[in-house]
């Protein structure tokens, strides 16, 4: 491992360690809203980083990350429901279920050229929603599933546990992004993203390359859906496969800085609290204001916030 990798890993672990101490300093029962917002930021970092691996590094735009997240959410909801497992133990299966869906989608769509992958991810979310709605005996259909928020060993399922779990999941996502960003694969992913034909002409296996980005991306998106479902305690197809869950990671990544490890973090840390603030201050017009904010970001910050900072430094 290179020295810069060690440095980044140590910095990441230090940040995670320090941020994990927050519930020890601030009582979560006295400030539940703060921890809800922090939880949302962590999940947004997780979901946006997962999108960034695929869309940012590999240039394969997914319009249906809600599909992977929703499948992960249903894995967390249905395993305890049918097998009486602990919802917490079901969490890794959220990632695995999303990865299986990714193998099906990518296995076929990545053999085609052009916009087929983007379209098939869009279809995945919609097909998954229809399957969940139709298969009532297994999924409870549109009625939804209640997920009991059971303790994890000695820890109560409170704001602190959700905050710390989501924080470390976001940390794992960042570690994955940093690892890819510093590996040889980064060059192959970039090449395939820019021109699959040119990359193949040099010996790069474009299909394998794209799958190597899709699988971790889907796994992390599934985990994001799983922890969100656990936190909410209830899951229905409408919320699990909501289009906004596909759009949000794209916006956060583009605003923060696409194809950079810290872009999704910057996007999430700024936009999620900003959205919460606007929602609390302007309950009727917050989406309009959020839209204006996004237009301003897109208009004046090419390459995202990180891109602008880099240009200023130069």
């Amino acid at each position: 491992m290179k020295r810069s990798s060690h440095r980044d890993l140590v910095a990441l672990l230090l940040c995670l360690g320090v941020l994990s101490l927050l519930p020890a300093v601030i009582d979560t029962r006295r400030m539940p809203y703060l921890f809800d917002v922090l939880f949302s930021v962590n999940v947004a970092v997780l979901l946006a980083s997962s999108w960034n691996i695929l869309g940012g590094f590999a240039g394969q735009v997914s319009f249906g990350h809600a599909g992977f997240a929703g499948i992960g959410a249903y894995a967390v909801a249905l395993l305890p429901h049918h097998l009486q497992w602990s919802p917490w133990l079901s969490l890794p299966f959220a990632g695995i279920a999303a990865m299986i869906a990714a193998i099906l989608v990518g296995g076929i769509a990545f053999r085609l050229r052009g916009p087929y992958f983007a379209l098939s991810t869009l279809a995945l979310a919609e097909v998954a929603r229809l399957v969940v709605e139709g298969w009532r005996s297994f999924t409870e259909g549109t009625q939804g599933v209640v997920i009991q928020q059971k303790p994890l060993y000695l820890f109560e399922a409170d704001g602190a546990l959700f905050y710390i779990t989501s924080l470390w999941l976001a940390g794992i996502a960042l570690l994955a992004v940093i690892t890819i960003g510093q590996s040889k694969s980064r060059y192959f992913l970039h090449a395939v993203g820019e021109s699959e034909e040119a990359a193949s002409a040099l010996g790069v296996d474009a299909w394998r390359c794209k799958m190597s980005a899709l699988l971790p991306s889907a796994f992390l998106a599934g985990m994001a859906g799983g922890i969100l479902a656990l936190h909410t305690g209830f899951l229905d197809p409408e919320s699990a496969f909501s289009i906004s869950r596909s759009v949000e990671p794209i916006i956060l990544t583009v605003v923060g800085g696409i194809g950079t490890a810290l872009g999704p973090v910057v996007g999430a840390v700024i936009l999620v609290p900003a959205c919460e603030f606007l929602r609390s201050r302007f309950p009727t017009g917050h989406l309009l204001l959020y839209g204006v904010l996004l237009v301003v970001f897109m208009r004046f910050m090419h390459g995202g916030i990180l891109g602008m900072v880099r240009r200023k430094r130069l």
Binding site: K184, Y187, F188, H190, A191, E194, S195, E197, A198, A199, S200, A201, L202, G203, V204, D205, A206
Partner: protein, 238 residues
């Protein structure tokens, strides 16, 4: 000794035949020039050899094996490497990174960088190593495309109009580089419209017309043929 033998290859797009029962052989260490009017099937020939188009009929033998069913990246790893008529350099990467990509498939990052630097120097890109590829002029992009293909360790290099769009003075270094590659033992198929370059480089010349081989032989002999003059060169080249 022939490194590649194209046997009776046909390729149709809809009802139009791009290649018709084409036979060609490429001798090891030689340059085969391929000329012909627009739509003669020159780029299709490169596409079927490199796997970007599947042949409808016929075989492509490379080093004694039929490669007609292999995907492009596997053919490239076997040493069949191409360039594109319009350079497809990775715009968001630097010149050095562009050249490193094929080398990284076989070597560590340190070794890949060392080899890529050496190739860049040879290909007259030594001063542009850290420039983004998108900032290079057309001549630079053509050189980068050539350098990147060379970095993929080809045994046979297929060049699709490497002089296209270049001024006379920009062509000279590319002609010199291609000649040097041949002197290193590389086998080359050169598809080109610039006759001066073809004559200067090709050991054997094949003329395609409507997907068929119109003529084949030494450039000086081929260019004297009336059929070739009528189909492609015009009377001025007689």
């Amino acid at each position: 000794m022939n490194l590649m033998i194209i046997e009776n290859v046909s390729k149709k797009f809809g009802g139009i035949a791009a290649l018709k029962n084409l036979d060609l052989a490429v001798e090891k260490g030689r340059i085969l020039g391929v000329i012909g009017p627009n739509g003669a099937g020159k780029t299709t020939l490169i596409n079927v050899i490199t796997g970007y188009e599947k042949v409808d009929a016929g075989k492509i033998n490379y080093d004694g094996k039929d490669i007609s069913k292999l995907p492009p990246h596997v053919r490239a790893r076997h040493g069949i490497v191409r360039t594109f008529q319009i350079p497809r350099c990775f715009a968001g990467l630097t010149v050095l990174e562009n050249i490193m990509i094929p080398v990284l498939l076989r070597h560590s990052r340190g070794e890949a960088e060392r080899r890529a630097r050496s190739i860049a120097e040879r290909m007259l890109l030594g001063d542009d190593l850290h420039k983004q590829a998108e900032t290079l002029p057309v001549g630079g992009l053509k050189l980068l495309e050539l350098a990147r293909a060379y970095a993929a360790s080809p045994r046979i290099l297929l060049l699709d109009e490497p002089m296209g769009g270049l001024s006379q003075d920009r062509m000279e270094p590319i002609i010199r580089l291609i000649r040097e590659m041949r002197e290193d033992g590389l086998t080359i198929i050169l598809v080109e419209h610039v006759m001066k370059a073809v004559v200067a480089l090709a050991d054997i010349l094949a003329v395609l017309n409507f997907g068929e081989r119109l003529a084949h032989g030494r450039p000086c002999d081929v260019m004297k043929l009336k059929a070739v003059r009528d189909a492609y060169l015009g009377e001025g080249h007689a």
